[in-house]
Symmetry: C2
């Protein structure tokens, strides 16, 4: 019926991590491929240290992963991340019906091309 306390906390972390424009920008950048911390920090009007902090938030939320090779920390999106978000959205389906439906319409058109899914 409801998510356990642990999942609630993970959901807190996930949503909080997403509720920041800089962090979303970092995710958007990483959507184009993995990058080192310095690479990620360079185009942002902010100290490398601050960016590093944001990255740690994203990492703690399970949104990105980090592999250290030598002195370079390479960050990448962790693809399994939004599970909790999805689970939570599912729980709220009753009052988000409309939104989920339009999301579904989009998803059918936009992301499931190989299945040749024909709806409606």
């Amino acid at each position: 019926m409801s998510l356990q306390a642990h999942a609630e906390e993970r959901l807190d972390a996930l949503l909080h991590a997403l509720a920041d424009a800089t962090r979303r920008r970092l995710l958007r950048r990483l959507a184009g491929g993995p990058a080192a911390v310095g690479e990620l920090a360079r185009p942002i009007a902010m100290t490398r240290v601050a960016v590093s902090k944001h990255l740690r938030v994203l990492e703690a939320a399970g949104l990105i992963t980090r592999t250290v090779t030598g002195r370079v920390h390479r960050c990448a999106l962790s693809d399994g991340a939004p599970r909790e978000l999805e689970a939570w959205l599912r729980e709220y389906r009753d009052f988000w019906d409309a939104q989920l439906q339009s999301l579904a319409r989009y998803a059918e058109r936009g992301t499931a091309p190989r299945r040749r899914e024909r709806a409606r």
Copy 2:
């Protein structure tokens, strides 16, 4: 291609409002129908004032609406709320493909018709 600054801010507010277990609990409660502030506060181990603050956060994020009749403030879910969230999810489709697909599968089964309840 990208959301304007204003929409970014609204998205910040929306996600931040959702990133709190108490506020999600309030939304869950409101999903069962509108309620007055006191009604919402009663079952929560927290001062009425604190609950009122949470409600104001939800209101500012556009997630709920409030109608004052007499001395009673009745809160209700605002159904158009998750538009920005949806738009944002759409923008991230490239790396959330898998999640959106399973969400779509869910939505096809679960919300399109008023059919059977298949919780799982």
